[in-house]
């Protein structure tokens, strides 16, 4: 299990990166994150849905309801043009940042 703050900092980036591939709904997003991270990140609904709504409020993603075959509604999310621009920028930042942190954490000589 990760520190709450550690996950919070990168959650928005992960969600935007996922819905960039096409419209996705909450359950699928959580499942994808679990699968892609080999069950390391198990997103709780209490964190997932407020985070999606925050991104929607910021205009990064947009949500829309669609009726399933069984008649139940499902809310899908897709990335917006503004979100795409922010994602491209944050993705580049993240690569540089994570590589830099890894270097310090992994290569730092232990006392």
């Amino acid at each position: 299990m990760f520190e709450r703050e550690l996950l919070k900092g990168s959650l928005g980036l992960m969600l935007m990166a996922l819905v960039e591939q096409g419209p996705m709904y909450g359950y699928l997003i959580a499942k994808e994150i679990r699968a892609l991270t080999d069950d390391v990140i198990d997103l709780k609904e209490g964190s997932l849905y407020p985070a999606l709504h925050r991104l929607e409020k910021e205009g990064m993603i947009e949500g829309f309801w669609q009726r399933r075959e069984d008649g139940v509604d499902r809310r899908y999310y897709r990335i917006t043009a503004a979100g795409q621009a922010v994602l491209d920028e944050r993705r580049a930042q993240w690569s540089r940042f994570s590589a830099a942190v890894s270097k310090v954490v992994s290569d730092a000589p232990s006392q």
């Binding site: 499942k31 407020p50 709504h53 509604d73 809310r75």
Partner: protein, 178 residues
């Protein structure tokens, strides 16, 4: 069978409690769809399926209902206070126009006019969608009305001394529900 513990619900409750009523409504609708998906997913593992189990659904439902009920109570209370404050301010507006005519001197008209402006500011403040500016307008208006009450006693009427503090009192109650 693994069951989500209290900390799971506490975390969910905490996250949802921090949201507005409209956001919470939207998320609750999505959560219902989420559990339907989990229950219908043949590849879902135990950790996912547990959320669809009657025990969890029941426990989860009760927790959410509690949050929901208290949020609705808060919203109703807030709305009632807004209506009461509006009624008080509206009476003050009408009386501000009527009372100076009884006295007829210039001071009474100046005080009455200022009181009317203060009361209008209060009403605008109550219903303004931008909460911070709304609160500021409301407090300025109701405080102004209270202050006008002091010189108006010697001029023509003490009614502002009643309506000003009454509006301020309503504002204090309203403040608690903001």
């Amino acid at each position: 069978m693994h069951r989500p513990n209290d900390s799971y619900f506490a975390e969910l409750e905490q996250e949802l409690a921090a949201l507005s009523l409209a956001e919470r409504e939207a998320i609750l609708r999505e959560l219902r769809s989420h559990y339907d998906d989990a229950a219908a997913d043949p590849t879902a593992d135990d950790q996912i399926l547990r959320l669809g189990l009657p025990f969890q659904a029941d426990q989860f439902g009760r927790k959410l209902k509690r949050i929901h009920r208290s949020a609705k109570r808060e919203a109703a209370k807030h709305r009632t206070m807004m209506i009461i404050a509006t009624v008080i301010a509206s009476i003050a507006i009408v009386l501000s126009f009527v009372f100076p005519w009884f006295d007829g001197n210039l001071l009474a008209f100046i005080l009455g006019g200022t009181a009317a402006i203060c009361s209008i500011l209060s009403v605008v403040g109550i219903w303004l969608p931008k909460q911070t500016i709304g609160q500021w307008l409301f407090w300025s208006g109701s405080t102004g009305l209270t202050l006008i009450g002091l010189p108006s006693v010697i001029s023509f009427s003490s009614f502002y001394l009643i309506f000003g503090p009454l509006l301020l009192w309503t504002g204090t109650r309203l403040q608690r529900t903001y």
